[in-house]
């Protein structure tokens, strides 16, 4: 466990020194600009617009970091051969992999938390108050973070057996497919045979269900989010990440490095 933490700590430091967190400056500027503009043009819907815009920005920026940095976590170490010296230490390959995941997850958590703080600051600027009902925004931010963890795990899995470009494409493709899981499950098309419909239903349970994490509408309108969904999404993410990372570790443990 200690060795996993050593790798995680270094991965976090790498992200910070590689200026990954500089995106926060962009986010801050976006929020300030939005607060000013929204305050002038919107009539009573400033909060809705601000929350939608803020959560979308948090999600998009997080996704870009998760996919691109996630794919590079292992592939960059293989390409630059920094792994050779690391794996010569008493460190198992799966420990390295989990450490890398944990490091980027921590980076994303800090990044997401900072952006959430920025969003609340922008809300306060617009409404001049933050009420208890706004806590639902925090749940939406938490769901975005869970989603990002899953994306990182997938990016790492693909980067273990394919080129970085393909890994980015596969991760992006799977993310988009995962957004339509609910539609795939309830597919009722008469032109499709029963077997095909069953096939799509099975696929829908294998694909990562990213639609579960989307509560932006509820958060923007201050509607409560069920505790059961929070628990469900937390467990789902933990289980899915564990399975994906186990697969990645199996592949990575037998991989010839160049």
């Amino acid at each position: 466990m200690n060795r996993v933490l050593i790798v995680a700590r270094n991965t976090f430091r790498e992200a910070v020194r590689d200026r990954v967190l500089y995106n926060l400056v962009f986010f801050a500027l976006l929020m300030i600009a939005s607060a000013v503009v929204v305050g002038q043009i919107s009539m009573d819907i400033e909060t809705v617009v601000m929350i939608s815009l803020g959560l979308s920005a948090i999600s998009l920026i997080g996704l870009l970091i998760a996919v691109f940095t996630g794919v590079g976590l292992v592939s960059k170490e293989i390409d630059k051969r920094t792994l050779h010296a690391v794996l010569a230490k008493p460190l198992r390959r799966w420990e390295f992999l989990i450490g890398k995941f944990a490091g980027l997850a921590a980076t994303l958590a800090v990044n997401t938390a900072a952006m959430a703080a920025g969003l609340f600051l922008a809300l306060w600027l617009v409404k001049h108050s933050v009420v208890r009902g706004d806590a639902v925004v925090l749940v939406a931010v938490y769901f975005i973070l869970l989603k990002l963890m899953l994306v990182v795990a997938l990016a790492m899995l693909f980067s273990c057996f394919t080129s970085p470009l393909l890994a980015i494409l596969f991760t992006g493709g799977l993310y988009v497919a995962g957004l339509f899981v609910a539609e795939l499950r309830s597919l009722q098309v008469t032109t499709l045979s029963q077997q095909t419909q069953k096939f799509f239903a099975v696929i829908s349970y294998i694909l990562p269900n990213f639609s579960n994490y989307d509560v932006m509408g509820a958060a923007a309108h201050g509607r409560p989010i069920a505790g059961a969904l929070v628990l469900h999404n937390t467990l789902y993410t933990a289980l899915y990440c564990a399975m994906v990372l186990a697969g990645a570790a199996m592949i990575f443990s037998r991989k010839d490095l160049k």
Partner: protein, 319 residues
């Protein structure tokens, strides 16, 4: 009975290549060798011979297609034994965003040292490899030679029993090479087992108790540097000077070549006395008479020549 730090048995590595990876390229074929505890063993061979492949297989960076390897009595796949191994990769590369001190501290953490001990070991290692003043500079600003020094420092930081160095002299200037050679000698004197690959044959002759020569993915010989090239003299070299106004006798004029103020002449052992008689008649002053023994370099060059000739023959025959 000697105990072995490294044992390999029929160790082989093939890489798939070509369309759909249907063809196989053999990088290492049936390597069986042993490195005794406490000895310095040099792996020699031309580029692409299989030296780095052997080391990567031992370190678990790649996996064998056949055969097995044991290090310090354990299978090479057992990473817990890495506690007792120091490894310098070929042309090492570390995290650009870390300083030398930080990267050494990072590696030291895997060995479970406490904060104070880590700091002390990092300080000592930076001093040992001549980087004490550059320890706080990010590695992105380091030259190849400086990275090589960091690589050596991280390899010996934890005082390992076995040190595996892949081309340790690569990228170093003469001063750096001398310093690294001194560090290897120091490790050797401290009783460490050392395995290293090199192209620089005088270093192998100076540092190694035994060498193994790899060519074309096969081990073609192991032994002490002297014994592997053979101890039998291939001739006699005579250095001599002529008195002022003296001329070379007709019989040896064709064999002697100018060397500084005098002459050098190579003769067969059986011709030595005859040549000496002729030189005595010419009133020559004999400066030195020495046996000519093949060097490791001669052996190596012969091997490379043979290897290339074989490769060319295969290419011509289309096999």
């Amino acid at each position: 009975m000697p105990s072995f730090a490294i044992e390999t048995e029929n160790l082989s590595k093939e890489y798939p290549h070509g369309f759909l990876h249907l063809k196989k390229k053999t990088s290492l074929e049936g390597l069986t060798m042993q490195v005794e505890e406490g000895e310095a063993f040099g792996l020699l061979g031309p580029n692409g011979a299989g030296k780095s492949t052997t080391i990567k297989l031992l370190m678990g960076i790649i996996f064998p297609t056949a055969g097995n390897a044991r290090i310090l009595g354990r299978p090479a796949s057992d990473v817990s034994m890495h506690r007792d191994i120091g490894y310098l990769p070929e042309q090492p590369y570390f995290y650009d965003y870390l300083t030398a001190a930080e990267v050494l501290d990072y590696f030291a953490r895997f060995h479970g040292f406490g904060v104070a001990e880590r700091a002390e070991r990092v300080r000592q290692m930076l001093k040992k490899v001549g980087l004490e003043t550059a320890g706080k500079i990010q590695l992105r600003k380091y030259s190849k030679g400086m990275l090589q020094r960091v690589g050596l420092a991280q390899a010996i930081l934890h005082d390992p029993k076995l040190v595996i160095l892949d081309e340790p002299m690569s990228g170093l200037d003469p001063v750096g090479r001398r310093e690294v050679r001194d560090i290897i000698l120091e490790l050797k004197n401290a009783g460490k087992t050392i395995l290293f690959s090199t192209h620089i044959l005088p270093d192998a002759e100076t540092l190694c108790d035994r060498v193994g020569v790899i060519a074309g993915g096969k081990l073609v010989g192991t032994g002490a540097p002297d014994s592997i090239v053979g101890v039998k003299a291939t001739g006699i070299e005579i250095l001599f000077e002529l008195p002022e106004g003296g001329t070379l006798p007709e019989t040896i004029r064709a064999k002697a070549i100018r060397a500084g103020a005098g002459y050098r002449m190579n003769v067969d052992e059986g011709q030595l006395y005859k040549a000496m008689d002729e030189l005595r008649v010419a009133a020559a002053r004999i400066v030195a008479v020495t046996q000519i023994k093949p060097t490791l370099e001669d052996f190596f060059m012969g091997l490379v020549g043979k290897d290339r000739a074989q490769a060319a023959a295969v290419e011509v025959s289309g096999k």
